[in-house]
Every structure is written in C-alpha cells, then in structure tokens.
Amino acid sequence: MEKLPVILLAAGIGCFALAGVVTGYLPLAHLSRIEVKKLEEIVTEPSYEFTDLSRRYPEAFKKHYGEPTVENYRRALRLGRDVYIAEACWHCHSQYVRPVSSEDRRFGKVSYAAEYMNEMFLPHLFGTRRVGPDLIREAGRHGNDWHVAHFYEPTMVVPTSVMPRYTWFFDGDQPNEKGLAMVTYMQWLGSWATPEAIAREEASRAKAE
C-alpha cells in the first residue's frame, strides 16, 4: 500500500479506470444505443426564422449567406454554435431542462437523451450555471428582431439584463455573418420540441396508427 508500483497501478490506473467504467463507460454504452446523427440528417429544410432573416436584413444576408437554402442554413447553425462556444455563452446559459423546480413550466419539455445525440452537441453545451435562462427551448420564444436588438444591447429589450453587448456581431446597424448565425442558432435550439412541433409529431403518429 505504500510502495510505488502499488500506488501507480492500483490507485493511479486502477481507481481511475474503475471510475471511468462506472461513471463514464456505462452511461456511454447505455446511450450509444441511440444513433448519433449528422446535421444533414436532422435538418432538411431552412427554418422559418432563417428565411425571415433574409427578408429583414436582405443586404447583410445576401452578402454573408446568399440565399436562404438548407446548405446555408446548416452553415449558419454550425457557425452559430462555434460563436456560442467562443463567447462562452454556456457559462451563463445552460442547455438542459430538468424535471424539477418548475422548469418544465418555465422553459418547456424536459430534456431527454435522444435530442442531444447529434453533431451539434459534440461537444455538449449543458452548462453548470444560469445567470441567464436556459436556452434549449429557446426556438420561437422571441422574434428575430428581439434577438438582434438583444445581442446589440441587451438592456434595450431586457432593462435589467446583465448580459454583455456583442457589438462585433454587427457591421454598423446590420447583423454580420456572426450575428445572423447566432440568431439562427438561437432559433434552432429546441425547435424540435416546441409545443407546435410536439403536437405535429403526435398528430402524425396518431395518423400512422
């Protein structure tokens, strides 16, 4: 118990590996029954909000994304996710709804494992702190204009906000590539679990039966 080989093998490797198996590998094996999807598989058409951005900010949109096609939508989503990481948004906003503390009433449907099994959650962005609200049910909660104003100067729409300004998402008064991507990403988060989406899915399931 006090000699180097025992410490290195039993404590160093043994205990680490045990924990790796119990709290890492087992959950992973459990979850691996759910197929991991590429963005191409889960996003097959541009969202309403993405198309809407092309109408509200036609010049900026034309310049940075061209047409609101599904390919450009995916590009915006990936860039939005990357900006979200670069700005460490996840330090103040979580991305999962817990089944406790009235969270389903505040945010929406409780998070479930399958919705994270795609490339947009590699790396996952669960977060551990909420200074601002959770964002995994953000889609459709606010309009595009709200988001644009909010990124430029949060206190314009939420007077008590403590969120920083993200003026580098803008060229002058128009959202730039990053700004459009961020709004697109915000409007995508949880778009598969809005009340409408859930109702649609239930209706189609009922029809199938």
């Binding site: 118990m1 006090e2 000699k3 180097l4 410490i7 290195l8 160093g12 490797i13 205990c15 680490f16 045990l18 924990a19 790796g20 119990v22 709290t23 890492g24 087992l26 959950p27 459990h30 979850l31 991991v36 990481i85 700005e87 460490a88 330090h91 103040c92 979580s94 999962y96 817990r98 089944p99 406790v100 503390s101 009235s102 969270e103 009433r105 505040r106 998070s111 494992a113 919705e115 994270y116 795609n118 959650f121 590699l122 790396p123 996952h124 669960f126 977060g127 551990t128 702190r129 909420r130 200074v131 601002g132 609200p133 007077p159 403590v162 920083p164 300004r165 993200y166 003026t167 580098w168």
Partner: protein, 482 residues
C-alpha cells in the same frame, strides 16, 4: 557540475515558479474582478470584443488553475520531492525547459481564449490546439520530478509521495480524457458524464493530491513531529483514490445522463466526505498541544485555516450533492461560492502558506514585514468567508425565485446586492494579494545585492536546513518501520 557541489534543490527554479504563479494570480484576480463588475452592470469595457466578459471569465478560471495553482504546486514538487527521496530531479536543464514551456502554454491558452478559440469544456477552455502541448509539458514535468521517486521505488514511500506519484498518473489521464472525449467522440449526455468526470478529477485527482501531499510534508516539519496516525493517512489516500473519481456526474444532476450514474455520484460524494473527515482528524491530532503555534507561526496558520475551510467545503458538498438540495441550488451562485471556497480558501491558502514558509529560505532574507503578512492573511480570510456566505445566500434566493416562477429578470434584480457584496469581497482579496506580493518583493530586494554577488556561492553552498529536511524522512522511516 559534480554532485558534491550541486545542491539537492534548484532554489532559483522554485523561486521562478513562485514568481510566475504570482503573475498569473494577478491576472486571474483582475479577470475575476472584471467579470464581477459585469454582473454588477459596471463593466468598464462594454462592447470590446477582446475584453468581452464571457472570455474574461475563462481567463479567470484558467489562470487560477493552470497559471497560479499549478505553478505553485510545481514549485512545491521541486522543493519537496528531492528532499524526500534524497535524489535530484532528472535534469536541471529540463526543469528550466519545463518552466518556460509551461508559462508559454498558459500564456498561449489565455491568448487563444481572448482571441475566440476557447474550447467548450469547463476548466479546460484551453484552445484545442494547446491541449497536446499541455500534455507534452505535463509529461516532461512528470519525467523530471518522477525520476527521483522511481529511483527509490523499492522502498516504502512517505505519504506525500503517495499523493504526488498517483497524481503523476492521474493528471495526464484526466486531461486527455476531459479534453478529447467530449470534444471529438461522444456527444450529448455521454459527453457530459465525461466532462463531469474531468471537472471533478482535475480538482480531485490533481489539485487535491498536490495540496494534501504538500500538507503532509510541511506540517510535520513545522511542528517537528510526525503525522499522528499512519493508518488514517492510508485511509485518507486510498479513500480519495477510490471514491473521488466516482463523483463526476454530480455536476449534471437531473440531466439526461442515466439516473443510476447520478445515484452513484450522490453516494460516492458522501463517502468522500467521510474520507475527508479522517484526514482532518489526523491533522488536528498532529497539532494537539501546539495550537498556540497557530498564532505565532504564519505558514501553519494559513495551512490550518485552509484545512478548516476544506472541511467546510467538503461538508457542504455532501449536502449540496443530495438530489433534494440540487432542485434549488443547482445552476445558482451557491455552487460558485463553493468553488471559490475550494480554490481560494483551501488551495490558494496552502500555496500562500507555503510561500510564507519558503520565501525567506529562497531569498535568504527574513520577511520584510510581518505586519503585512498578517494583514494579508486576515484580509484573505475575511474576503473569502464573506464571498462564500454571500454567494451561498444568493444561490438559495435565486433557486427559490426560479422554482416559484418569478420572471427571470426578478432573479437578476434580487441578486444585484449580493453581486455587489461579492465585488467588494473580491476587492479585499485583491488588495491582500497586492500586500503579499509587495512583501515578497521587498523581502527579495533586501537580500538582492548580496545574493547577486554570491551567485556562485548560492550554487555551491550546501542546503542550509538539512535538519528540517531530515524531519519528514525520519517521520517516514519511523512510519515505515511501524
């Protein structure tokens, strides 16, 4: 350079690591200050991309972990390991290569974060292109400091070396797992389970073993008596090794991570608390009859204050990790308070205590001012305790506001006074560390001229305190013989 004139410890190197630690300490404290000003809506650089509060927050945590704490602990390794083994590190040149490489890595990581290349791993925001270099740097360090331990591998090791050598296995494994698995291989909840492991292991299997290893070395030396119970030392070490890494998932309770993993994390977190209790008992029994030293001996005071706060934070952890409390306090400032108590109140206190003990030996001059040292101690203690309770209460208030479905903005408005108090507490800490650094500077300057003249003698002079260095060896051999 013959072995007769080469001292066991490269003092200039230890000093260099401590100075580097302090440079990053200031960066970390200023970054933390800036972020707290953001929450108080007093941010001085709004709308400046490279000084965005979100990026500055990552500078705060990373400069603390990799810049301050690890530099401090590396200094401890270079001071302690050769003394406990009686062997030199692998190579002095390598020591300096590692020193500069490490500073470069931390600075590059900070630069990368500011420029927008951060990685989405908590405590591992180091950009992905820096990660391999961190691992390489750690490998070189481990080769360097591990060699003397390897050379006495057949002997029974002293407690400190159990912690240090196990850490040398844990650090690279933890870092590789946490930075690569969720980033490249496992999405969603599975990735979160691994991230939880990483967050927890970085603290529990790197910082904690380094910290306790240090305590097992310095406390017996200062008290001039061996650690009270060898059995409890064994329980403490093996308990930490077994239970600590099982805790990871407790960072994501009520998430889509399978529930059995979450229940397991609750149980093992409570087990850790029992283990911690044995270690604390061991150290306080070692102190028995000599508590008066806490008044006269400042290093000891830093160490034991840190231990009291360690016990507090671990006890708190055993409660906050219950699924009942998690409903309210998760996502709130409660956890932030907990983190500050651990990282500042415990491990930073221990490093400051170590500097308090080592600095006169490293500079060859007595402390410039004891009053400044005492003032720094009280200001740090005051600052961290106020910050801790402030954030604790803030967390509970936030948790209930969220649960009661108050508008989200209400939680911001209600938090504001708490956040202002936190800023004030942080300012006190920053001022304390400034005093501490000023004291270090003046102490070094006192001896400055003489030391420069005696550059040769400082290399050739034998270690000045073989008596003290002998203490833990005796302690260890006494323990080994029992």
């Amino acid at each position: 350079m013959s072995s007769i004139v080469t001292p066991l410890v490269d003092r200039r190197l230890v000093r260099a690591h401590l100075v580097a630690a302090f440079v990053f300490f200031f960066i970390a404290l200023f970054a933390g200050m800036l972020y707290s000003l953001q929450l108080g809506r007093m941010y001085p650089f709004p709308g400046v991309e490279l000084l965005s509060a979100g990026r500055i927050r990552m500078i705060h945590t990373n400069a603390v972990a990799y810049g301050f704490l690890l530099n401090g602990f590396i200094a401890a390794l270079y001071w302690i390991v050769p003394r406990l083994t009686g062997k030199q590190v692998l190579s002095r040149t390598l020591s300096w290569v590692v020193f500069w490489a490490w500073q470069l890595i931390v600075a590059t990581a900070a630069g990368g974060i500011v420029l927008g290349y951060a990685q989405a791993v908590e405590w591992g925001e180091t950009p992905t292109f820096v990660d391999p270099f961190v691992l390489a740097g750690a490998a070189l360090l481990i080769a360097n400091v591990g060699t003397p331990i390897l050379r006495i591998a057949t002997r029974k090791l002293y407690v400190t070396l159990w912690y240090f050598s196990a850490m040398m296995v844990w650090l690279p494994l933890t870092y590789a797992m946490g930075n690569f698995v969720p980033q490249y291989f496992v999405p969603g909840a599975g990735g979160a389970a691994v991230t939880g492991l990483y967050i927890h292991d970085l603290v529990g299997l790197t910082i904690t073993p380094l910290g306790w290893g240090m305590m097992y070395y310095f406390v017996p030396i200062i008290l001039k008596r061996p650690v009270w119970s060898h059995t409890l030392s064994l329980v403490g070490f093996w308990g930490l090794a077994f239970f600590y890494p099982l805790n990871g998932v407790h960072h994501f309770f009520y998430s889509p991570i399978p529930m059995y993993a979450q229940y397991g994390a609750v149980m093992s977190t409570m087990a850790v608390e029992i283990v911690v209790f044995t270690v604390i008992v061991n150290f306080f029994m070692t102190l028995r009859g000599q508590t008066g030293l806490l008044r006269s001996n400042l290093p000891l005071r830093w160490f034991y204050t840190g231990m009291v706060l360690y016990f507090t934070t671990c006890l708190q952890c055993a409660f906050q990790t219950t699924l009942t409390l998690q409903k309210i306090i998760h996502f709130s400032d409660w956890v932030v308070g907990h983190a500050h108590l651990v990282m500042f109140g415990v491990f930073s206190f221990w490093i400051l205590g170590m500097i308090e003990y080592l600095w006169p030996k490293l500079t060859g001059a007595a402390w410039y001012s004891r009053k400044l040292s005492v003032a720094a101690y009280w200001m740090c203690t005051f600052g961290v305790v106020v910050m801790f309770f402030d954030l604790l209460v803030a967390g509970v208030v936030q948790g209930y506001l969220w649960k009661n479905l108050a508008p989200w903005e209400q939680s911001l408005v209600t938090s504001m006074p708490f956040w202002h108090v936190r800023t004030v507490a942080g300012t006190v800490i920053l001022a304390a560390i400034m005093l501490f650094a000023y004291n270090m500077w003046m102490t070094a300057r006192r001896k400055g001229a003489a030391a420069e003249d005696g550059a040769l003698s400082s290399i050739t002079a034998p270690e000045t305190e073989p008596q003290t260095a002998g203490a833990p060896v005796t302690a260890s051999s006494a323990l080994a013989g029992s």
